[in-house]
């Protein structure tokens, strides 16, 4: 159902982490490890965000685009689906799905503009390539386009917990944005991701939310695990350097 998460295609498509963490055989052949795989997806999520800043779309569009990109790579190889094209195309498709269409022309303009940033020197693609990839992505997504994001849950939960001051709102919102640098949205229900963000933030801000969490009757083991995953991510993120990203990319040996 379009607006009921529990009957939605999103819910039905949730995967186990093990199924997300599978490197496509074609990519494996090229020596792509699971770490490389995650790194490239993270990098492309950042790229989508960077592009989105330029074309000026809502956060929701970015989140949907990243989700599309991550879903595509649960099924398709990076060898066949060049991330440098998939990422902007996912943003393009997401902008239509979220009713704030960005023109392909404009997107390509910013692709070229981002060339100035050596981290995103991906300018070999033209409008035609994006339009072609759009259809391939629609197919790869099996035409399931509705994505439920934790943002709405987050603000409602914060309100419910009486934690909706500016400080908590900003912190949790930021944490939530960062969860799109991981595959959490493919694995967990959005409200659980939101709860993990609230949980981490309340610990950081020394808010006692124990009683509130108790009343929720959610599986706190899951919330805890998601929280740990987020914290692990931050811990590991320090180690990520541009060199590692470039190394991972070079293994893909994509056409320049």
């Amino acid at each position: 159902m379009a607006a009921n998460f529990w009957t939605s295609s999103h819910y039905k498509q949730l995967l186990d982490q093990e199924d997300v963490d599978v490197v496509h055989p074609l990519d494996k052949e090229k020596g792509i490890t699971l770490e490389d795989f995650k790194l490239i997806k993270l990098h492309m999520a950042n790229y989508i965000w960077k592009l989105a800043q330029n074309v000026k779309v809502r956060q929701r569009v970015v989140a949907t685009a990243v989700t599309y990109m991550r879903r595509v790579y649960t099924r398709k190889s990076m060898t066949e689906y060049d991330p440098r094209l998939v990422a902007p195309t996912c943003l393009y498709l997401a902008s239509k799905a979220e009713e704030s269409t960005v023109q392909a022309r404009l997107l390509v303009f910013y692709l070229k503009k981002l060339y100035a940033d050596e981290k995103y020197r991906y300018d070999r693609y033209e409008i035609k390539d994006i339009l072609e990839m759009e259809m391939k992505i629609l197919e790869a997504l099996n035409y399931y386009l509705v994505v439920f994001h934790p943002y709405r849950a987050l603000s409602q939960l914060l309100q419910d917990a009486n934690l909706n001051d500016i400080s908590m709102t900003q912190l949790t919102w930021g944490l939530l944005n960062d969860t799109y640098k991981m595959d959490l949205i493919l694995v967990h229900a959005p409200h659980l991701i939101a709860l993990a963000c609230i949980y981490i933030a309340s610990v950081l801000r020394e808010k006692d939310t124990t009683a509130w969490f108790e009343e929720l009757r959610v599986d706190m083991n899951v919330v805890k695990n998601i929280s740990m995953e987020i914290l692990d991510f931050y811990e590991n993120h320090r180690m990520i350097t541009d060199d590692r990203i470039i190394a991972a990319f070079s293994k893909l040996n994509l056409k320049q």
Binding site: R58, Q59, T101, D178, R217, Y234, E235
Partner: protein
């Protein structure tokens, strides 16, 4: 769709230029068109569903080089999520990578309320039977209740978008179609207790995060954070962009305003599900009288949705709205701005009962007047309407709206005309093509579908009952795997329907996507004004 096929572009079957996926169908011809593209009638060849009719909606590549049309994206997006007996069923999606076109395949519905009403008005000169009207209305409400329960507003309900199944398992079943303008208006947070787990509760103290990690987190959070600010401005820009796109559309498109709710005509910024209920009220009246209830003349080329004549038509029948009856009226932009015109005339008397010829104390009138309630917050909901007394008295509504169990005379409605001269590319064939009757290609030839344009096409179509051509969308199609009984499938999510929770303000005018171009000038006038 699991069985989706696509042409990989390397399919060079010279014998048959059809893309691979298309070979599973026998293409019969074109049955409609709109700004988005064309609609075709086809039959499935495969043994499992042999002979089953499919309507294939082909979306043109947008002219401005912007890929798959956002309308198509939105329609696919919604249709992929919904499933209900009274909503058209998307059975497949196909992509032709060669010409970058997109095809949506629906179960085919032979009739629609527009044609049924027209047939009664122009051909049989007789009103639609009570049983049939009630069954249409009940099923329409049933489908709408499902949509509204799932936070989907249709936004473009009108007789031509309400399909009715022809002969077969689902004969007389209503299917709501054309979701190109529909939108999800609220993604509600489901209560957390519904995740099916519950029980296990593990209290975690604040010790989970060690203090040394805190600093790292803080710095990283802000180092990595996506766009947090600037939401409203961007929304606005998006809205403005979309507004422009719609304006462009209006240039060659007929906008339906007859079914548009008064709050929208008065400039309300938000759609609520109540706008669909107003349309249902208009359709109900039209089923009873065979005439559009509020047939306003449209003001073209205005960027705002203000339609004085349409409002005037409504006020004439229902009387002027008052602040007592509709308190939020005062907040509506056009009510405030155009005091002279809108508030100037005064129609006091409600003449609705005389227009629809219903006894004022009867349940039918009661239901209709509740659908046509001015205040959207007081307007009856689909769920409430289904419980109305009208549906509890004889004749009771049934699943096959076309055949009454009381043995009333069955009206035979004409089948949809099929333009057999147009191929999937939308080009008219120069060679006379083979018309088809009841299943497979048979004899008979088109008496010269020459000239290469559609202009003369319809008059030359060889199949009986071809008096009409549908220049606009024949858009959607139904559910093969029908659920038994009419009550099935309602509100599966169990979410109570709510009003007044509009989305964050994407305002959009309702647009009739009808193409007046395409060389259709040879059509009879009433077809051109079809709404």
């Amino acid at each position: 769709m699991g069985d989706t096929n696509s042409n990989n572009g390397n399919n060079t079957n010279t014998n048959n230029k059809k893309p691979e996926w298309l070979q599973q169908y026998d293409l019969l011809g074109k049955i409609g068109e709109g700004t988005y593209g064309l609609v075709f009638l086809a039959r499935i060849k495969s043994s499992t569903n042999r002979g089953k009719s499919i309507a294939i909606k082909k979306f043109k590549q947008s002219k401005d080089g912007d890929g798959v049309s956002p309308t198509a994206i939105r329609e696919i997006m919604l249709l992929r999520e919904i499933s209900h007996e009274n909503v058209v069923k998307l059975v497949n999606v196909h992509i032709n990578h060669v010409d970058m076109s997109l095809y949506l395949a629906f179960d085919y519905a032979e009739h629609d309320l527009y044609e049924i009403i027209r047939h009664h008005r122009d051909k049989v000169n007789q009103s639609i039977g009570q049983y049939t009207v009630k069954s249409f209305l009940w099923q329409l409400l049933n489908g709408l209740n499902y949509l509204h329960s799932n936070w989907i507003i249709h936004r473009d309900l009108k007789p031509s978008n309400i399909l009715v199944m022809g002969e077969g398992d689902e004969q007389g079943v209503v299917k709501i179609a054309d979701f190109g303008l529909a939108r999800i208006y609220q993604a509600p947070l489901k209560s957390l207790s519904d995740n099916g787990v519950g029980g296990i509760f593990c209290v975690i103290g604040r010790y989970l995060v060690c203090s040394f990690m805190k600093r790292e987190i803080v710095s990283l959070v802000f180092g990595l954070t996506f766009i947090v600010k600037g939401e409203p401005g961007n929304c606005l820009r998006a809205r403005v962009r979309r507004g422009k796109a719609l304006l462009r559309l209006q240039g060659n498109v007929v906008v339906t305003i007859w079914y548009r709710a008064p709050e929208l005509l008065l400039g309300a910024k938000h759609y609520t599900s109540a706008v669909d209920m107003w349309a249902v009220g208009c359709i109900f009246a039209e089923l009873l009288t065979l005439k559009p209830l509020f047939q306003g003349a449209e003001v073209k080329a205005t960027p705002n949705p203000f339609q004085l004549d349409q409002l005037d038509k409504i006020f004439k029948v229902l009387g002027h709205p008052t602040l007592e009856k509709w308190p939020t009226l005062a907040n509506l932009p056009h009510w405030q701005q155009d005091v002279q015109h809108i508030q100037g005339h005064k129609y006091d008397n409600t003449g609705l009962n005389t227009v629809v010829h219903l006894p004022i104390k009867g349940p039918a009138y009661d239901l209709l007047s509740k659908m046509l309630e001015y205040d959207p917050r007081k307007r009856i909901t689909a769920a409430q309407a289904l419980e109305h007394e009208y549906f509890r008295i004889e004749p009771l509504p049934g699943r096959n709206a076309l055949v009454s169990p009381n043995g009333d005379k069955v009206v035979n409605y004409p089948t949809r005309p099929v333009d057999r001269t147009t191929d999937f590319e939308g080009t008219t064939s120069l060679q006379p093509s083979q018309p088809v009757s009841s299943g497979n290609a048979v004899s008979g030839s088109i008496p010269g579908a020459h000239g290469g344009t559609l202009r003369s096409g319809p008059r030359q179509m060889p199949v009986g009952g071809m008096q009409r051509m549908q220049p606009q969308a024949m858009q959607a199609y139904n559910n093969l795997a029908s659920q038994p009984g009419m009550g099935s499938g309602m509100n599966p999510g169990g979410i109570p329907m709510q009003r007044g929770l509009p989305n964050q303000g994407h305002q959009q005018q309702q647009v009739r996507r009808k193409d007046t171009g395409m060389g259709m000038t040879g059509y009879p006038p009433q077809q051109k004004s079809r709404r």
